[in-house]
Amino acid sequence: MASGVKPRVKVPKSASAGEAIIIKTLISHNMESGQRKDSDGNVIPRSIINRFVVDFNGQNVIDVALEAAISTNPYFEFEATVPESGEFTFTWYDDDGDVYTDTKAIEVG
């Protein structure tokens, strides 16, 4: 599923040093579970995003292992600490080998 995958990330534009900020992410993806059958009774093969990683300036925030039981269009909400200005990197790993990335800069004033 390489087509129609669109990551959406919500990060505040600025924060104070050491502040905990809430990050929300959503990526459009079918997350075919490998449990469903098509009209001929054949199992539709599994095709999901199996890993999601968030880093800030090279330091890890969260590393999520996804299984087939994650809903279509995987959504995650979590909190991160921002020690200085920098950039969040969001990476999704697809079963088919595709990697989707998004970055968001944040200003610490």
């Binding site: 905990a20 900020i21 579970s33 449990q35 469903r36 059958k37 968030v54 880093d55 800030f56 330091q59 890890n60 925030v61 969260i62 590393d63 999520v64 292992a65 996804l66 299984e67 087939a68 039981a69 994650i70 809903s71 279509t72 995987p74 959504y75 995650f76 909400e77 979590f78 909190e79 991160a80 600490t81 921002v82 020690p83």
Partner: protein, 138 residues
């Protein structure tokens, strides 16, 4: 119907087979949990699992886990075809050891969360979720 010795035995065998079926489902969940904990003792407390009591649509059930001081939290669904749901590993810049996501539940069942604490111990929390429409297709 006259209960002969033979038919009584037959009934007993059928009942045993019925009883063994849910046991098998539970066993795979226990195995999945053991794979995460490494067979370690699992305690209680320090982990909050928030899930709705009734989920109208099993395709997207919002859940939230929170375990201050945890390094990882894994979520399992006891009666899904595959019990593993998700595993969160928290890095040094995670402001809190909490996360929220949306999961699929095949039917009414217990959702189980297990957190691995920084000292290597494990705690668990579970909640029963009633599912009106299952979320695993066919």
């Amino acid at each position: 119907m006259i209960l002969t010795r033979r038919s009584t035995l037959g009934l007993g065998a059928a009942a045993l087979a019925m009883a063994a079926f849910p046991m098998r489902v539970m066993a795979s969940t226990e195995e999945a949990i053991a794979a995460f904990t490494g067979g370690a003792e699992v305690g209680e407390g320090g982990l909050t699992l928030t899930a709705p009591e009734i989920a109208e649509n099993g395709n997207t059930v919002p859940i939230e886990v929170d375990a201050p001081g945890a390094v990882a939290i894994a979520v399992f669904a006891a009666s899904n075809p595959l019990p593993e749901v998700v595993q969160f590993n928290f890095g040094p810049l995670a402001a809190s050891q909490s996360a929220a996501t949306r999961i699929r539940l095949a039917k009414t069942q217990d959702v189980i969360a297990i957190a691995q604490m920084a000292d290597g111990s494990f705690v668990r929390a579970s909640q029963a979720v009633k599912v009106t429409i299952g979320g695993c297709g066919g």
